[in-house]
Symmetry: C2
Subunit: 621 residues, 2 copies
């Protein structure tokens, strides 16, 4: 479709396309703009002035992307939508227990203006009815009422990601006509639910309801709740994460007045509506939706707002109880140490031993989210294998989220395995420092060593070393005729080469080869241990291989006569034989047959390394 | 810790360990066994007989693992826990609209035995109060009452994964003393909510409440709801998936009587309790919990059951609004065609061109769950790059779940890109046939070709071919001196080898090399195209490489003198030159220098392939 680039007008070809999500929202707005039902709130003149045609929709994601159509910047008063946010502040200021002592969390099934106090205790049924919201406002901390009001303004502004302001006209009107709310305030004072003069608390309440917001603000405020309390645009924390689930719970059970049950049934997202025509809805972990359209139904919810949220939920499967069957397991692949080996290249005898005993090591590559139920799958698998292996390596490289319950289950599994002298090891958990913290905090001093975390395949190498029982590097020099490079060569032929080799000793920590330097030597490792590393663009060092005596290195750049693509450093005092490329080239004159044998052996080594690489690609992909 | 294997008693070392989850549940039971509060229901003598010490806990996962401690097999009557399940059957039998026409979904905030009918319509407030549950029972389909009862029994048995039976004693008692429920039945008949004689419906209702279950059964029934309606042990479907969210919604908003709000606030899982002391709780997508302990609090919920669920929720972060911040993006890696190339190995000129123009191809490797919000991230990224590239490849290999909204967004993105003659291609979507179905169903006949799905790196090869404009294989024969294998050889030296080569033509579809056969030839591809494939253990064929003229194949087994590890088949009529290993060996006698040059060139090819493999490993891991 796109072979003939010339045929396409340049501006069409090279312009950025519009997001299909914007198209969707435009369609949605067009679809419901014609819906005329509902009446604008008119209990104060300021609200009655709203235009019934005003209609904006916005969505904000926890990644910080905002989509908006229509009157998405038009400001209106937040009204009851302030209630869950102020309730969150009351939780932060007083703790959950004190707040639950004053305000219940039971839905009433009654209308938005019902009083719903417990006849005996005077406790409001929940914080979404006016009585509960006034009580929550009374629990906001501050030296004086101005401080409290400022704290509420700052808190709402942190959610919105911009400084919000007060609609003075609406506030004055609310204050002048708020007789019913004053009655509630004094009733709460009577029951000692409000412990101070209700006048100041009511002023705070009228002000919190009179804050101006747009539906774009509401979407971002919802996304902040969806994002565990952190505004996804400004990265500012608006509420401590531990209280977010409480705020969402009361929105979920009581947010839409006496429509709350049907809302959860149909839309399936915690939400809150306001009498000025706003609705905020939250899909935890994912997004916030803000809608503005003033005409209300008889329950006080925006008519178009309900339809829009209902439609978005249906079209994009956003109901919180809509479960998608997993297509793949949390265990991406499982293998044992007889199939895959670490980057520590071993001599033939060790290779054979690992092939035989490698099944004592089991490696699990984990993917996706680690929570109670996915970690249970891993724990179950390891428990069922616990009689057949001694080392269990859990690779967290592909894990996307990890919660406390995963830490807890892994910790308990580690203890159980340690009881039978088996080991649970973790790799690639640098993204999840909380796992190590959890372990270290709980393990007794003597058991600290049972928590071990590694990068890449070092855990596998550690287990191989335990099986081979050769964590210590032997201090004997490998004779030349034991090198695979010399397979099939007679003693005389080896003598021919040996005369051309230069011996050199290196100390631990020394660099034998630098990345980028020209190559002239082929190295034969006779004693000690070296590692081949590359420096990644970010500066991180990645191991390509570790070599034991009897192996060669530096062969790639040597044969290509190119620059060194990796560095070689000494892990344990090493002794090398070096073969200069010029000396090797010169061998043709007198010893062509030896040269050919060496080249053929080198080709076999390359071929084996290539097969190992292909196997690794097969396992990885 | 585990080096001295000999020191460990054999039975400890080789026995399977217990699951830490079992340890946890034992501790939990011990902890709450001493909690004496609450009273056993005594409105019928059969319930009063229960022992206040009976206490069982069970958890079942959507993977089908069941954990249980205490009296987990002790049977008791299901009572009100039958309500959400029968409501689900009513939804299946009548559809959502008809059921919502008769039974509301609003929580009442009232006690478990309240009547709660709408004063005007007689509609019960929700299906979890007795009036709503009796109405739901009346909507179960069946020729006669026995058929209906059998259908209810079968449905409950499908959830539990075993045939459940009726406790006749409890049933007779319930029937004899159910005056209040009879009153409700006749009130419902009066409002025409029940359209038939209420006596039969009440009998059905009394029977559904008298079904015997254990808390193990309840856990599995919960896990079946958590698993979108499919019993995770038997794989039998107990309810159509589309109604599961409705059942969970009413459990979430009204499942725990007038404790529903506090339950969602603290425990955060849809749940239902019964007066015999059972509780079932559901964490959608993850697990079901069943608890049995007869003493009830004043709201009619099992005292120990509430504490156990509360504790499990807290200990394992199971509150449904507890959001874990993702540690990693849904886009695992993104690269363009100048950095990574397909397995189609190209000649030098084509390689250079792809290095230059490769950024016209962008590849996205996706991981985790694809739903609205994660797909939005991908769409947003591609939209923002849409002016800079022509081909966008989305690799779904590491995707764990994919829902309809992801299909919808990808479909809309595909259309938008096609408008500017750009292409959206998908790879590795065989796990997600619904994506292709979604696309094909909606694309107009003319546009069908814009949906293309590939395996592995065939999408990348397709795009490379479009850029190189060489989808057609040229029918010219590559001269020998253009082969990289002969770099640095003089015309005379090439002549030496050419005399040893045998020419052979192959037709499309033919197999040149079979996997497993002994190797004696090295192949030079002079015309056409071949692919190297291995057959995986499952029988699937995987491409290792595709070759264009000028390249060699069969070199690995040839140099190792081993069996062929892969097959080579002809993609387009091919012409090859073959070099027999015996002829090559014999060259040493007369033409040692030529042989060395060939070996060195082969080593360089191996070295290049090894570098390519290492790069691929770096990108993959």
């Amino acid at each position: 479709m796109n072979t003939n680039v010339q045929g396409i007008p340049g501006d069409k070809m090279h312009a950025q396309i519009d997001s299909p999500i914007m198209d969707y929202l435009h369609d949605l707005r067009d679809r419901f703009a014609g819906l005329d039902a509902g009446d604008i709130a008119d209990y104060i003149p300021e609200l009655a002035k709203a235009s019934s045609g005003s209609f904006g929709i916005s969505m904000a994601t926890t990644e910080g992307h905002v989509y908006e159509v229509g009157e998405s910047h038009h400001e209106f008063t937040i009204q009851s939508i302030s209630k869950p946010f102020v309730y969150g502040l009351a939780l932060e200021d007083n703790g959950r227990a004190d707040v639950l002592g004053k305000i219940g969390v039971e839905p009433t099934g009654e209308a938005f203006n019902s009083i719903s106090l417990d006849p005996h205790t005077g406790q409001p049924a929940n914080p979404m009815i006016n009585a509960g919201a006034i009580t929550a406002a009374g629990m906001v901390m501050g030296h004086d009422n101005d401080k409290k009001i400022n704290r509420v303004m700052d808190m709402l502004s942190a959610y919105a990601g911009r400084p919000l302001s007060l609609d003075e006209g609406v506030y004055l009107s609310e204050s002048q006509t708020g007789h019913r709310n004053r009655a509630i305030g004094y009733m709460l004072r009577n029951f000692n639910i409000l412990e101070e003069d209700p006048a100041a608390t009511l002023e705070l309440y009228f002000k919190q309801c009179s804050v101006s917001v747009s539906c774009r603000d509401l979407a971002i405020m919802g996304a902040t709740l969806a994002n565990a309390g952190i505004n996804p645009l400004t990265q500012e924390r608006a509420i401590r994460g531990e209280y977010v689930e409480s705020v969402l719970s009361v929105m979920g059970s009581c947010g839409m007045y006496d429509y709350a049950g049907e809302w959860i049934y149909k839309v399936g997202m915690p939400a809150k509506s306001g009498v000025a025509g706003g609705i905020v809805a939250v899909l935890p972990g994912k997004l916030g939706i803000g809608v503005f359209s003033p005409p209300l139904d008889k329950r006080g919810n925006s008519v178009r707002g309900i339809e829009v949220c209902n439609r978005i939920s249906m079209d994009f499967n956003l109901h919180m109880f809509n479960v998608v069957q997993p297509g793949k397991s949390v265990i991406r692949s499982a293998y044992d140490g007889s199939h895959i080996s670490s980057k520590h290249l071993r001599k033939a005898g060790d290779r054979a031993r690992l092939q035989q005993e490698g099944q004592r090591i089991r490696v699990y590559e984990i993917q996706g989210d680690l929570n109670f139920s996915t970690t249970e799958v891993i724990v179950n698998e390891i428990v069922s294998r616990s009689s057949g292996a001694d080392y269990f390596i859990v690779d967290l490289k592909r894990v996307l989220t990890l919660d406390q319950s995963a830490c807890r289950l892994f910790y308990q599994l580690l203890l159980k395995l340690a009881d039978t002298d088996k080991q649970l090891l973790f790799t690639n958990c640098d993204t999840w420092p909380e796992l190590g913290k959890y372990m270290r905090r709980r393990l007794k001093v003597n058991d600290r060593a049972s928590w071990q975390s590694f990068e890449d395949d070092y855990a596998l190498e550690y287990c191989e070393n335990r099986i081979l029982n050769n964590a210590e590097v032997a201090a004997v020099t490998m004779p030349l005729d034991s090198f695979e490079l010399f397979d099939g060569l007679s003693a005389d032929e080896i003598e021919v080469i040996s005369g051309r080799l230069k011996k050199q000793a290196y100390r631990q920590g020394e660099t034998i080869i630098k990345q980028g330097e020209p190559a002239s030597q082929l190295y034969l490792l006779a004693q000690g241990q070296v590692s081949i590393n590359i420096t990644l663009p970010g500066g991180k060092i990645k191991r390509l291989a570790t070599l034991s005596p009897g192996l060669v290195f530096g062969e790639m750049a040597w044969i290509e006569r190119s620059e060194r693509s990796a560095a070689v450093t000494v892990d344990a005092d090493a002794l090398c034989y070096k073969l200069d490329i010029a000396d090797f080239d010169a061998m043709m004159a007198d010893h062509g047959a030896v040269k050919v044998k060496l080249l053929e052996n080198l080709l076999r080594l390359f071929s084996r390394n290539l097969r190992k690489a292909n196997t690794e690609i097969g396992v990885l992909s």
